[in-house]
Amino acid sequence: MKRNEFLMTAWLLIAGIGFSNVATAQATIKVGVLHSLSGTMAISETTLKDTVLMMIDAQNKKGGLLGKKLEPVVVDPASDWPLFAEKAAQLLEKDKVAVTFGCWTSVSRKSVLPVFEKDNGLLFYPVQYEGEESSKNVIYTGAAPNQQAIPAVDYLMKEVGVKRWVLEGTDYVYPRTTNKILEAYLLAKGVAAADISINYTPFGFSNWQSRVAAIKKFGSAGKKTAVVSTINGDANVPFYKELGNQKISAEDIPVVAFSVGEEELSGLDAKPLVGHLAAWNYFESIKTPANTAFINQWHTFIKNPKRTTNDPMEATYIGFNLWVKAVQKAQSTEVEKVLAALVGTETPNLTGGIAKVLPNHHITKPVYIGEVKADGQFNVVWKSAGTVPGDAWSDFLPGSKDIDADWVTLKCGNYNRVTKKCSGQNYK
């Protein structure tokens, strides 16, 4: 290769990557969609990408927003956490999106967080998570632990009479935090330490024989036992299959899961799971006019009447509606103005009740507990009295019970009431 050819090629490459789009008068509002379309997380995240596209489509049919059409910018971070940060930067710096809907795993959120805070972007995060975080630039529309885990444990304790607990999780931050909160909570409720067993397995774990045998043994001590499962993703199917095969039925040792929803059940034979529980803020089977309309809209959009809906989809739906309302309130898509308008904005949930953005950037949500039915849907057996406000910092952890998040008065996501100091993830 001639030297100047080489240089030319290299130059073109650099030019292609680096130069931002020339700012032209924007006729559209760009909406970033940051969900993995390949790799291990694609299984969960592609649905959310489609949900956002559906919402954008519907909004455009209503005439867009502030007189402009919405334009989705879809990227594929490929379940690769550093790539999430890179793609977030691309959306914010190159495509200059007004808002981003995205992320599923905690680590992907942690990976993009510095980018959103540095570039002052706006992210709607639609998945239940471990809490212990409140960022100025993120609106958390999924459940915090107090909106999912604690009510589920309460239900088992009070309604089912569970005395002995197996906290079984995948070894990453969400199960670790949730289990820590639950352990503290259970101990506070008088459960003996010997009656709590905590165990972690790796991602994608499939050889559950020994673990399930151990659970069976733990559960045969004569006290009513339940498993609180924070097992993630692909590890669930072999887990439930093994439970079924080792004849552990929901009547003996019920399993309550926080990551198993309609979509996960559609990928497995639900019959052996009948009676096991899940705690969510939304179930497809809850009959309300709004939910029926949403399900129909989804089936039409995805052109498949068999596709299920699930909780993170509802969280995406709520997030999108909240953003639209806030933009209309602010009459602008500028992040600062939208953020100011967001707190206090309300939108109806699909299953009744109102989702309201709280000063800590979490929202109010109803809590439901459902039993798995043979058709892969849930039979709601318990619901919270009203909506439960999301708590960013758990009251049951010694490190966080003094911490408050308030982006209205305190302007801080991590304010220690005792030391009266604001620290953490907010950049100056």
Binding site: M1, A10, P82, V107, K110, D171, V173
Partner: protein, 372 residues
């Protein structure tokens, strides 16, 4: 005759045309990118956004990793499917330093313990975290950790004459085992989340564009230096011995070269380059976590080398940049089909460009040479 021969053997770059072109491009990048980012106003079409800086920085780091793979594979014939392990170890060493720099600015405000340790109820810093708040010690670890792993692993493997496919597969097992280990929260390396939310390096704010530009320039310089070091090695007699080992291992042994020790030296050196690449990668990308150890990453690095042209050094770097650029472009432009394109590219290159892009270019040049 004598002079001619020396010309071939010496480290003189005038013989290495591809290499000098490559170095020229590096210099250009190191000068032009900062100018385009810092001087040219953001409104201009020529402005390079910070996002572009990060991307170029990432490509250069990957280029360095590819260089390391090419040195050992292209010249010594040892296919390591575990170089991601060395890359990640270097990255983790740097990440530990960056974590310690956060100090009391973490979520929980602990002056010493990083957030994840507070969270996992660590009462004190594990011993292997000591000293890493000093940059010099961190740098030492960046070099030492991959070097040690490579030395121990290589010593065992080469001494027992584990070669070819066997070697490739156990290196894969090595990086896989490390990945599993680092995924464990109990290891003291932050588990699945790894390290993120870095604040600054040597008290320079990691989020400022200036720091990023400087990091990019340093990366370009590191890449240039490692390229020249590799070039010097392969042009020395040691380099010829390496190629001799690659082509006829037992013959080399029978003319008296301690083949195992050669392999070990080169393996360790290559691991060190990979480690430094990882250390440069982490502050620019802003996160390091166990999935960097994924064996797939090692395989991808090998593919960059194959695409660019094995056994040419600069070809490996070119391959890394091209494939990753294609990945960036395709994941953005065709998120649904980019895997098809990438997969097809790998098949195409192996079938039709057995010597990579550089091989194609060289063949083309020879064609033209004949015509004239």
């Amino acid at each position: 005759m004598l002079g001619l021969w020396h010309g071939n053997a010496g480290a003189g770059l005038h013989k290495d045309r591809g290499g000098s072109s490559f170095l020229a491009v590096l210099v250009l990048v190191a000068i032009a990118v900062p100018v385009l980012n810092q001087v040219v106003p953001a409104s201009s079409a020529l402005h390079i956004s910070p996002f572009g800086i990060t991307l170029i920085g990432k490509y250069l780091c990957y280029g360095m990793l590819a260089l390391a793979v090419d040195l050992i594979w292209g010249y010594c014939g040892i296919l390591s499917l575990g170089h991601a392990a060395f890359f990640s170890l270097g990255g983790y060493a740097m990440g530990m330093y960056l974590m310690r720099q956060i100090g009391p600015r973490g979520v929980y405000g602990d002056p010493i313990l990083p957030d994840f340790m507070v969270f996992l109820n660590y009462k004190s810093l594990p011993w292997f975290w000591y000293g890493l708040n000093h940059f010099a010690i961190a740098l030492t670890m960046v070099v030492l950790a991959p070097a040690l792993l490579a030395a121990v692993f290589g010593w065992f493997a080469f001494r027992s004459r584990v070669t070819g496919v066997y070697f490739s597969i156990i290196t894969q097992a090595l990086t896989y085992a490390l990945m599993l280990a680092f995924f464990r929260n109990d290891m003291g390396f932050g588990g699945n989340n790894g390290f993120t939310d870095f604040k600054d390096i040597l008290s320079f704010d990691l989020h400022s564009d200036k720091t990023r530009v400087v990091l990019l320039v340093i990366t370009a310089a590191a890449l240039a230096v490692s390229y020249m070091a590799c070039r010097a090695i392969v042009d020395s007699r040691a380099g010829r011995v390496m190629r001799a080992i690659r082509d006829a291992e037992s013959r080399t042994r029978f003319i008296g070269y301690p083949v195992e020790s050669f392999k070990l030296w080169v393996f360790v050196f290559s691991a060190v380059i990979a480690g430094i690449a990882g250390a440069l990668y982490v502050p620019q990308i802003g996160i390091i976590n166990p999935s960097e150890f994924d064996p797939i990453n090692s395989i991808e690095a090998v593919i960059w080398v194959a695409v660019g042209g094995r056994g040419t050094l600069y070809g490996a770097i070119l391959g890394a940049v091209l494939v990753n650029y294609a990945k960036t472009y395709l994941t953005g432009a065709f998120p649904e089909v980019w895997l098809y394109a990438l997969g097809a590219l790998f098949v195409f290159v192996t079938l039709f460009l057995p010597r990579g892009i550089i091989g194609l270019v060289k063949a083309h040049e020879q064609e033209r040479g004949k015509d004239q």
